[in-house]
Amino acid sequence: MSWRLIQNFSGSRAILCLEANASADALTRTLSNLGLTVEKRHPGEQAFEDPSSLNPDRDVLFVDGDIDAGSIWPAPYLNLNPPAPVIGLVGHEAPSRLKTLLQCGATALLRKPVLGAGVYSALFAGVNAYRHRRHLEERLKEHESKRRGRRSLIKAIVHLVRHEGLDDEAAYEFLRKESMHSRQSVEAFCETYIRQLDCRETEAFGAPSRHAACAAIRSEGRRS
């Protein structure tokens, strides 16, 4: 899975959660010039009760750290990767305010008063850092699931060594090739393979050959 920098934000939606003032005007003007549509929320409004309605590939939030930004997300979303990129507006450079912004998931900060300069930099850094973080989290999930699948891989190799007379290298190579044929990761394939062996063993007499098990997986794949 690749990850690429966004440089043109045309077509994105900016949601401003800040009080109406000169900074809001400058931000609206500059974001519109950058090709974004701008929507405003009033601080304190429960506007984000349904974070699933946000699209992380389209939306970006600008949140004023001087208001109670903790209420932006429902509690379960705090301290997690937020449902869309957040850029924090900083007035008071105090630890409590900065902590609140980071808890909301801010990946870039923009100093108030906003005058125009700095908006593109904050957008560029904020959105791309968010995307990079999300990319890493997805990779992490993928690795976690692979790690869980290692148990099936080991079981399958042990089975092939024991019952088919292969050495461990040949057993792994066989499983890897078969997983590629069925377009799955080797771990996911082994999980199905082990299940096939178990289920056919109870139905018939003894464990099936590796080729019979693979043929069964393939025919299952065709049916689904």
Partner: protein, 386 residues
């Protein structure tokens, strides 16, 4: 009718490394100032307060601060982006307006700046279109090592790669560098479809001369087979290149002195009469001329020099400039201008070889013409050559 008098700052480097273009800009501004002040129906007199920062960014900052501290609300000036970036904070602090009259690389929309020169979609994008259609898609980039060259080369690279072309090489030199023998050998060996030049000032003039001579020695018709294309080359600079290498260079600009129109004929005639010693009128001179014209007329319509009123008045204007109709885009405070491509001639002028049908809306962030994603190019370990 009572005549309103307004002091207007003029901040041009009439000495220093880019003084040739700056002096033509100053001339353009003074010409418009005369026209505003002698116009019987505007009822406005602009009193120029000129300062010469001599190309030093520190001087720009100190002089801008001094002008604005005196209460001046409108200043016309700057050529380089670095000088403009240097003084914008003072305009924000004093809530004054800078009228910036030069083409530049974009990526800015300051609320305290009106931009009357070309934005990137009005110079580099039309230039790349012209080059890839008429000369091919293998580019060799050579430039002065600063933002103008870096950003224009990025735009060129992205556009050319998207069209299945290639950038043979990208070479940068310190501003003022004049030793180009080895890069010229590299260009001649690579035989690109065109050379994309972002060198400025004396470096550019030397490169044009040396490249023409070396190519001729190698039996190459440089102007025909490996033309040099620039977004910044203007008539006063053609004079600096000199007779032996002046012709056959391609330049993208919204204005050329050779344009055939009544408004331009009048502009050129008054310019030459007022400034017989030159420098020759250029695109940036015309941008300075129209900055002062737009400022003067806006002040007359607004009846005050307060920024919101002047900006609102400016956004309602459409004037017949030497290049054709121009108007200010209220959202970006950039100007609708007419992109053109010119080829230089032996007489140090440009013949227009391509022209947009109508003024083009400014797009300073290229939101309508650049790809959403950055093009993955391996990072370069070394940028500076020599």
């Amino acid at each position: 009718m009572a005549v309103q008098r307004y002091a207007v700052g003029l901040l041009f480097s009439s000495t220093g490394p880019y003084s040739v273009v700056s002096r033509s800009m100053m001339n353009g501004a003074l010409l418009a100032l005369d026209e505003i002040n002698t116009s019987s129906d505007l009822g406005v007199t602009l009193e120029p307060v000129a300062r010469n920062p001599a190309g030093s960014n520190a001087n720009y900052a100190a002089m801008a601060d001094a002008l604005l501290s005196k209460g001046i609300k409108h200043v016309v000036g700057c050529y380089t982006s670095s000088s403009r970036k240097e003084i914008i904070p003072y305009f924000e602090k004093h809530d004054a307006l800078l009228w910036y009259p030069s083409h530049y690389e974009g990526f800015e929309t300051a609320a305290n700046v009106v931009y009357t020169g070309a934005a990137p979609n009005q110079h580099i994008i039309p230039l790349i279109d012209y080059l890839t259609v008429n000369h091919g898609n293998r580019a060799f980039c050579i430039g002065s090592n600063y933002i103008w060259a870096w950003e224009n080369n990025r735009i060129l690279r992205e556009t050319v790669l998207a069209r299945c072309g290639s950038v043979v090489a990208e070479r940068y030199f310190p501003v003022g560098e004049t030793g180009f023998a080895s890069v010229i050998d590299a260009i001649i060996a690579a035989r690109p479809s065109f050379v994309f030049n972002t060198l400025i000032g004396t470096s550019a003039y030397q490169f044009f001369r040396d490249f023409r001579r070396h190519a001729a020695e190698a039996g190459i018709n440089q102007a025909r087979d490996m033309p040099v294309a620039s977004c910044s080359l203007s008539e006063p600079e053609l004079d600096e290149i000199g007779q032996d290498a002046v012709d056959g260079h391609i330049s993208a600009s919204v204005y050329f002195a050779s344009l055939k129109s009544a408004a331009n004929a009048a502009f050129i005639a008054s310019y030459r009469a007022r400034f017989p010693k030159g420098p020759a009128p250029s695109a940036d001179a015309e941008a300075s001329y129209l900055a002062v014209k737009l400022l003067g007329i806006s002040l007359a319509f607004a009846g005050t020099e307060a920024l919101p009123h002047v900006k609102a008045a400016a956004a309602r204007l459409e004037i017949e400039a030497p290049q054709g109709k121009v108007r200010i885009d209220e959202a970006t405070l950039h100007t609708y201008l007419t992109p053109r491509i010119g080829r230089s001639t032996k007489s140090a002028q440009f013949e227009v070889i391509m022209e947009a049908k109508a003024p083009v809306r400014p797009d300073p962030y290229l939101v309508r013409s650049s790809p959403r994603f950055d093009i993955a190019v391996p990072p370069r370990a070394v940028r500076l050559v020599s």
